[in-house]
């Protein structure tokens, strides 16, 4: 057993394994376009690449980018369904990464996260349909598709403002109370969007907004899952980049400090109010961008897409994957989305076939695709009990004391220490 393990720790073996895996997955998917398993194998390749720990991280990132940007669209690009599923996975990955900043880094449990997503989606939806004509008369709406790109920034800003608005009352409450308050905030936003069709019709109430203008880029209309796949992919790349940069920044460390011990963090000079508000605003702004993309992709939004269920779903992704760990959150989001949009549905179809064939007799209410809450519930409890840190827990940076000591020896002494030393020397 140990021998096999040792073999797997060799870089050459891992290279071969990853290559072989990718080859088999692409061949299988190419040959049988209908096979769900082949598609799942293709998606799992990202995880395989990630866990090939003997490869340098640059190589791994390179292979990952190659798979996501070239291999997958090249093989499955013709298949609308797969591109759609991949896009949805991407949308949830992006949102989970945003929530990860609030929950994972800063430790502020937010159960109303979908409100920011809604803010982004509505900020594009209202102006990209004729809806805005109801209360603005300086321009004939809808805006044309080219406005989609600036509206990514608008969505970001609107959501960030929402984040700060939510953050303000929340600064005084902590822990469980915070969870409930954010939940209440999310529900208030949903109810308002649901009823803001009078006295002035702003959101068109429960009827929702449609048709939302399709974006275009250099004259190409972006309207297929294939196109959106790339839009989402680029935004995820950006979000991951920002996430990674934030993680090691002064701000990111301040968030973690607040998560671990608010009082101690404050004592170390971290401004609580500013730091917490920034966490909410950053997390929210990611959801805002994704909201704009979502609105454009669906061409239709209504308040039912922004329920508490969605907020909980995103929270499940973060907790399942490992809150605070970027790769973990990506994995969690992928698992939950595929479970939700694909596996439960497949299982439903399967049962339906059995029912039609007369093998089993289940009432149609027992359709597994409607059992999100059941599955989420069990997942949440099991995760809380057995893996509270998630599937890929966040890694702590370890500091090698010896290394540090060596550094100190070599580094020239500066500041007050130098002055002291000089004084000593003077004597």
């Amino acid at each position: 057993m140990d021998k096999i393990k040792a073999q797997f720790l060799k870089a050459s073996v891992q290279y071969t394994f990853v290559g072989l895996y990718l080859f088999i997955a692409s061949l299988w998917l190419k040959l049988s376009q209908e096979s769900i398993l082949a598609f799942l194998m293709m998606l799992t390749s990202i995880l395989v690449i990630y866990s090939a720990n003997q490869l340098s991280s640059k190589v791994r990132i390179g292979i990952g980018i190659f798979v996501l940007f070239i291999l997958l669209p090249f093989i499955a690009g013709d298949n609308r369904y797969y591109m759609e599923v991949s896009t949805q996975v991407g949308i949830y990955v992006a949102m989970a990464l945003g929530l990860n900043i609030v929950v994972g880094f800063a430790g502020l449990l937010d159960l109303g996260y979908v409100a920011f997503f809604a803010a982004g989606a509505y900020s594009y939806g209202i102006f990209a349909t004729a809806q805005a004509n109801n209360f603005l008369d300086f321009y004939q709406f809808p805006l044309e598709g080219g406005w989609f790109w600036p509206f990514l920034v608008v969505g970001l800003l609107v959501a960030a403002v929402f984040g700060i608005l939510l953050g303000l009352p929340v600064l005084k409450v902590k822990g469980d109370y915070l969870a409930i308050v954010t939940l209440g905030f999310g529900e208030i936003v949903r109810i308002i969007f649901n009823n803001l069709d009078k006295p002035v019709n702003i959101t068109n109430g429960p009827q929702g907004l449609t048709p939302i203008a399709q974006p275009n880029l250099f004259g190409i209309v972006i309207n297929t899952p294939f196109h959106y796949y790339f839009v989402v992919l680029f935004s995820i790349a950006l979000i991951i980049l920002i996430n990674r940069r934030l993680e090691d920044s002064r701000l990111g460390r301040a968030w973690v400090a607040i998560r671990e011990d608010e009082l101690a963090a404050q004592a170390m000079g971290i401004p609580l109010v500013k730091t917490k508000l920034l966490a909410f605003a950053t997390g929210a702004s990611f959801a805002g961008i994704v909201g704009v993309i979502f609105a454009a992709k669906q061409t239709y939004i209504d308040p039912t897409s922004f329920t508490l269920m969605e907020s909980i779903g995103i929270l499940v992704m973060v907790v399942l994957g490992g809150s605070g760990s970027v790769p973990g959150v990506i994995l969690g989001a992928a698992i939950v989305t595929i479970l939700q949009v694909q596996l439960l549905k497949e299982f439903s179809f399967f049962l339906n076939d059995l029912r039609l064939a007369g093998i089993i007799n289940l009432p149609s209410q027992l359709d597994p695709s409607k059992f999100q809450r059941f599955v989420f519930g069990i997942l949440l409890v099991i995760m809380a009990l057995y893996r509270p840190n998630g599937l890929i827990p966040a890694k702590r940076k370890k500091i090698d004391i010896e290394e540090l000591k060596k550094l100190e020896m070599d580094a020239p002494t500066t500041g007050i220490l130098m002055k002291l030393q000089n004084k000593k020397g003077g004597k």
Partner: protein, 321 residues
């Protein structure tokens, strides 16, 4: 609408508000008890209430299908439904505590809260699943036991069931109060709420006391579910969540961890909500109406947490539980 109409509506609105308020109050007791002892928001409490509503309705429906309901005194049937529902939900509460909360007692509160949300979602679909399987529908309408109406004046009526609900709620609250303040177990509960470790040194079995707390809180919640089913007729698997949140708001409003506070918070919230729902439309020229009723509770919650996080009765009464 002119002012006269608004005024004649008032007594009815107040009665509705009181009924709702007492329902909130009893459910809020469950939140407050668990919070007082474990400092945990038992998110699943609303679902326990919902299960109670289903169980009570099922008991009545089963009795009806066997033809015994007609011959029975409605009070006996009512008590039977409450008894069955509260015993089973009480057991459920203990089980949930044992499986989903006890192993997490020493882990961060965030994890325990996530587990509680999980239980709550699980129960919603579990009930939907079983009802779908048994009755082929998600919502359930039970037989109405009390159809009488007591006239107070020529224009104000109190339905018997409403009166009964208010009385039952008061009975439950008073007996809980007596239990907590007069019995040995009640004193043990208060001791555990004060300090678990010291209590365990005083030869109090902390686990047993916590289990008992869950049993009592959950059985009260379940019994309230039966009252709810009688008042509103139809129940569905999702009534618990939003009602649970409002009951929690009531508990916070009165000062969480405080029994008396939960009661006053519940009644107050019920009245505010009922008044708001009835008068917001007419007062704003139908610009904003009853569809905003859920916003009231959440707004109150946010305001209370901001300006008086200890609640209305948080300081007046020192004892927890």
């Amino acid at each position: 609408m002119d002012q006269n109409v608004l005024l004649t509506m008032l007594p009815q609105v107040l009665i509705d508000g009181l009924t709702l308020g007492f329902l909130y109050a009893v459910v809020a007791l469950g939140y407050t008890m668990v919070y007082g002892i474990l400092e945990l928001i038992n998110f699943a409490h609303g679902e326990i209430f919902m299960v109670g509503a289903f169980l009570g309705t099922e008991v009545l429906l089963i009795m009806q299908s066997f033809g015994i309901l007609e011959g029975l005194n409605p009070f006996v049937a009512f008590l039977l439904a409450i008894l069955v529902a509260s015993l089973i939900t009480g057991g459920m509460g203990v089980t949930i505590e044992r499986i989903a909360y006890r192993p997490l007692r020493n882990s961060p509160r965030l994890i325990a809260l996530i587990s509680a949300i999980g239980v709550s979602f699980f129960l919603q679909d579990l009930v939907r699943f079983t009802e779908g399987l048994v009755r082929n529908a998600f919502y359930l309408s039970g037989p109405q036991l009390f159809k009488g109406i007591i006239p107070l004046s020529s224009s104000i009526f109190i339905p018997t069931k409403t009166l009964l609900i208010i009385i039952s709620a008061i009975v439950m609250m008073v007996s809980l109060h007596l239990f907590v303040s007069r019995t040995k177990w009640g004193i043990a509960m208060r001791a555990v709420a004060q300090d678990q470790q010291t209590a365990s040194l005083m030869s109090i079995n902390v686990n047993k006391v916590i289990a008992l707390t869950f049993f009592i809180g959950s059985s009260l919640g379940g019994a309230t579910g039966v009252l709810y089913a009688q008042q509103y007729g139809t129940v569905d698997p999702y009534i618990g969540f939003i009602l649970g949140l409002k009951a929690f708001t009531a508990a916070v409003l009165g000062g969480i961890g405080n029994l008396k506070g939960a009661m006053w918070g519940g009644v107050l919230l019920g009245l505010i909500e009922s008044l708001g729902t009835a008068y917001m439309g007419p007062l704003t020229g139908n610009a904003f109406g009853a569809e905003y009723k859920d916003v009231f509770a959440f707004t109150i919650l946010i305001i209370v947490l901001l300006f008086k996080p200890e609640g209305l009765f948080g300081e007046a009464v020192k004892e927890k539980v």
